[in-house]
Symmetry: C2
Subunit: 368 residues, 2 copies
């Protein structure tokens, strides 16, 4: 057996690639790998996520749906390397999850004369809509009633069917998950294959640094797909003896949306009534995978940092003025790095990777 | 001598990498190469424009300014391959010109305690602003007085100084070129090194197809930087015996902005009073390089096609529904291909590349 999809809580195995929760206890599923990463098995002439196709054994090669995602630039700026995930096909790292998820499922769903459903009016919704379009698969994207902006426009241009839901974010998720004829829920937060696709990002960072992994990796955290995917990827490389040690993973959050930071530091967290942060892609005040995230971060000897609005804005502007026009949510990771430098909790001499997760071209901010 | 920068009209050689017009007659300059392209000299571990660094002999390796441009995906859709130039760092193919231009000039300009100037409120302005930012070089971008929209926002986020000019597009160019202390004009249409950077796109298409070049390449044309750069790149490969024949280059224009189409077909062209096409990046009703473009296109046995607004819009939507969210101006090339298919002037059996030049994330169009 090369892999298994198992419940992260009760350990029950799930036989279906379509399942998004444990058939026994309803808790989140996760992919377990039972093979080593081998550098020799990289498909060297492929410059997408699929150069690592051999490490995603549940995807059939002929069924791969790609828009050219992955193999994004890693750009030096002194000892800091910026990983430009904003340059993915739909403008965010989510494309790694979508390409793996949709490649795995599209034939199964079509054979069942079905369609997929997802709840997101943001980067994940746009990404899943794009890959569904590329696969010729019908997608219904569930969004809050009063949504607007560039990401929502993007979802619609890809031709996804929009379902507006009133009554708050959890109601939107509920509607998207509700059983209906032909509907397959592929929600990016819960579906284990979406999260598993993010693993490719860790492989890529390691390969681009010639398998000399950085000492620290800073990344923004909301619902935790990026965090879990990256940790799992690096862990797989360590267990496969491809790299010696895990990098320290630094989970970066805004003060407003900081459940992981608080839980990790054993502090209590009260979310604001309304999230107003300029880091508007980071909205999970009550992430369903929180326990899993804390566990992963502890296991990985990681750290968590919380930043303020002015720190995010300044980091966003500073990045743009270095030539990296990313969304404010991406700037959270750079803001956290700068904060730690200032507090002497980080050092310029350490090899550090900062993951820039999404493009500035979708921001609603205006200059000046 | 490996290369020479020569006047495209009088043949006069220009000794300066900074010059944007012939020192004798004021006509456009162009780079002449006196060496062969050799596959063995590709820098195989570099996945940017700079894998072809050895074919840009005027750029010093240590002075390269990169944001990870180039090596964009070439995605199959049957016999058609879409070249996703929209996935460049600032969202368009212009980054190929900017990386070559700014890498060549930034030290020279800084040593003269100078700054660069450019006239563009669109993709080129955003691209030059980004590379100037990355190089720590001051940029003044001259724009029409009443400009707005995502591209203009992007220019400002990169920190360029904006100079608003009243009195029409030619007045903007004039002001940008006006001699001022420390000012170096690097206008993307006129500067030969910007155009020369686009050459990398032809190399890349050929390499990604294992040096079996396509039979046809469709691309949108406005001021002609893309057209000239791509033709020159393929010509270089033919002269170097790396490929046997040039692909047929098909220059695609909107009815409103079709000076090349008309001139190429020996028809007279009257520009509209105001350009209102949804292909809003294609605005050169009176391109300064028109004669050069016609000459290049004839030499290359190319063709020209003109498309209507409804054809562009339909192509734009069709591309998005395949997962390629590009700007309407990019859809002009796909619209032209579809038109030729319909008129039996093109065949689905021919290997065809369609260059998608810019991202849909900058469009001002709204869904529905």
């Amino acid at each position: 057996m090369e892999y298994e999809i198992k419940c992260s809580v009760c350990g029950q195995s799930s036989p279906s690639l379509l399942a998004f929760k444990c058939p026994s206890c309803g808790q989140p599923l996760a992919v377990q790998l039972y093979f080593d990463f081998e550098v020799g098995k990289i498909r060297r002439r492929d410059y997408t996520v699929w150069r690592y196709a051999n490490f995603f054994p549940y995807v059939k090669e002929k069924e791969i749906i790609t828009l050219g995602e992955g193999w994004t630039p890693l750009i030096d700026s002194g000892n800091v390397h910026f990983k430009l995930e904003n340059l993915n096909p739909t403008g965010s790292f989510k494309d790694r999850g979508s390409t793996v998820l949709i490649s795995t499922l599209h034939k199964l769903v079509k054979n069942a004369e079905g369609y997929i459903s997802e709840d997101s009016s943001g980067n994940a919704g746009a990404s899943i809509a794009a890959y569904a379009a590329r696969a010729g698969l019908k997608a219904k994207i569930y969004v809050p009633e009063n949504v607007s902006g560039p990401k929502f426009n993007q979802i619609q241009f890809y031709g996804a069917e929009i379902v507006k839901v009133s009554g708050g974010r959890s109601k939107v998720a509920e509607e998207a998950q509700k059983t209906e004829k032909g509907k397959f829920y592929v929600g990016h937060i819960l579906h284990p294959l979406f999260r598993d696709g993010i693993r490719s990002l860790a492989y890529e960072i390691a390969e681009q640094l010639d398998w000399h992994v950085p000492e620290h990796v800073y990344l923004p955290v909301s619902a935790g797909t990026l965090l879990s995917g990256v940790i799992y990827g690096f862990k797989h490389l360590v267990e496969s003896n491809v790299i010696e040690d895990m990098p320290e993973i630094v989970a970066c959050q805004t003060r407003q949306v900081s459940p992981l930071y608080h839980s990790f530091k054993n502090l209590s967290y009260t979310p604001p009534e309304r999230v107003t942060s300029i880091a508007d892609a980071l909205v999970s005040v009550n992430p369903p995978l929180l326990n899993l995230m804390v566990e992963h971060l502890r296991e990985a000897n990681g750290d968590a940092v919380m930043v303020e609005e002015d720190e995010i804005f300044n980091a966003f502007i500073e990045l743009a003025r270095k030539g990296f026009f990313v969304e404010p949510s991406s700037a959270v990771a750079y803001a956290a790095y700068k904060k730690q430098l200032k507090n002497k909790e980080a050092s310029k001499d350490d090899k550090t990777v900062i993951i820039l997760t999404g493009t500035g071209l979708k921001t609603m901010l205006k200059p000046n």
